[in-house]
Symmetry: C2
């Protein structure tokens, strides 16, 4: 058995965030499939035993259990000694961008992609509203990356792996990423880091 | 001039989170009005000088500047020595709930209340979708509080002040809080802490 087990599923960009981190740190890990689309995260058993928040990902390390991708990233940075902060100012800067990611960035991009490409609702007032938020959040990150190779400066950290989590799903993304040149360049750089894999090559999916 | 300045406005529950913390810690602070409804946060000047993310709140302390309510709460816990973690496990538990707040809880409640009670869109497919998410997130917190007086156990922390930020707006909330008994009791407990004030009595509003 691997040292780390990640409850995850291929379509989950939030699961992809720690999966990428596990790859980049070279830790010994295995994926455990969560059958989200058949309601597994909403079952009382999952909520009691795995995650009261009813979400993936969840990381198991020995007898310890962690949920929320940001917490898992923070923990993996600590145990691996990689991609974390080196001082308190960096710690806050990473936290600032991870909160922005959870609230505005992934918060809109993940929902928009789910409605359009998975639930296939078609274009609705809800997707219009979400797209406006997603594009606004992308513009903020694009502007920031115009002056920084990575989110907190010159080296990749867990803030990068948090923000990029939903952006490698290609045609499932219901907007044109080409308008965000700095985001594109940054995604290419991360894609070239040792260990990178596409989400569908890294995490199991329902057949 | 006060030691701390908080860029904020009365309608912003995200601003209310650090405003409450400043009250509860007894720090010397003043509010600086952000004219959100006339677009101040979207101006190039605000984005360049105050916050590239185009949001309130922002905290100024001497020559230091912090954005994202979760970062501000974390900083204020550190400088005051109050309402923060006492060990690494608590630190992660606080982070876990602050991320859940930003993504799922405030992420849906704030948008729903904005559309219904401020933009006055009426009930739409978007508000239906947001209400479902908001009620689901409220049920998670209610279930958690059934077994805990506060979010991480027996004492209030910044995780509580983050999650409660939008719940004191009374009739502006477009759902019935009465169905969440444990949330209600927890809100009453926080309301009775020394220094508590309603958001509209704590932060300036446009006349």
């Amino acid at each position: 058995m691997a040292e780390f087990t990640l409850y995850c599923f291929g379509e989950s960009g939030n699961s992809y965030k720690p999966a990428l981190m596990l790859q980049f740190t070279g830790l010994d890990w295995q994926a455990k499939f969560v059958d989200f689309f058949n309601g597994e995260t909403r079952t009382p058993a999952y909520r009691e035993m795995i995650n009261e928040m009813g979400e993936a990902p969840v990381l198991i390390h020995g007898d310890r259990k962690f949920s929320q991708s940001g917490v898992i990233l923070d923990y993996l940075a600590e145990v691996s000694g990689k991609f974390g902060h080196t001082n308190d100012e960096e710690r806050r800067e990473i936290l600032r961008w991870m909160l922005f990611d959870n609230h505005k960035f992934t918060g809109s991009i993940a929902s928009l992609r789910f409605l359009i490409s998975i639930a296939k609702t078609g274009e609705t007032a809800t997707t219009d509203w979400l797209r406006k938020r997603a594009l606004g959040a992308l513009a903020v990150v694009d502007g920031h990356l115009a002056n920084n190779s990575f989110i907190i400066g010159k080296r990749p950290t867990i803030a990068d792996f948090s923000l990029c989590g939903y952006l490698y799903y290609g045609e499932e993304l219901p907007f044109d990423l080409n308008q965000f040149k700095h985001v594109q360049k940054w995604l290419d750089t991360i894609r070239n880091l040792e260990g990178w894999k596409h989400p569908y090559n890294l995490m199991p999916r329902k057949r």
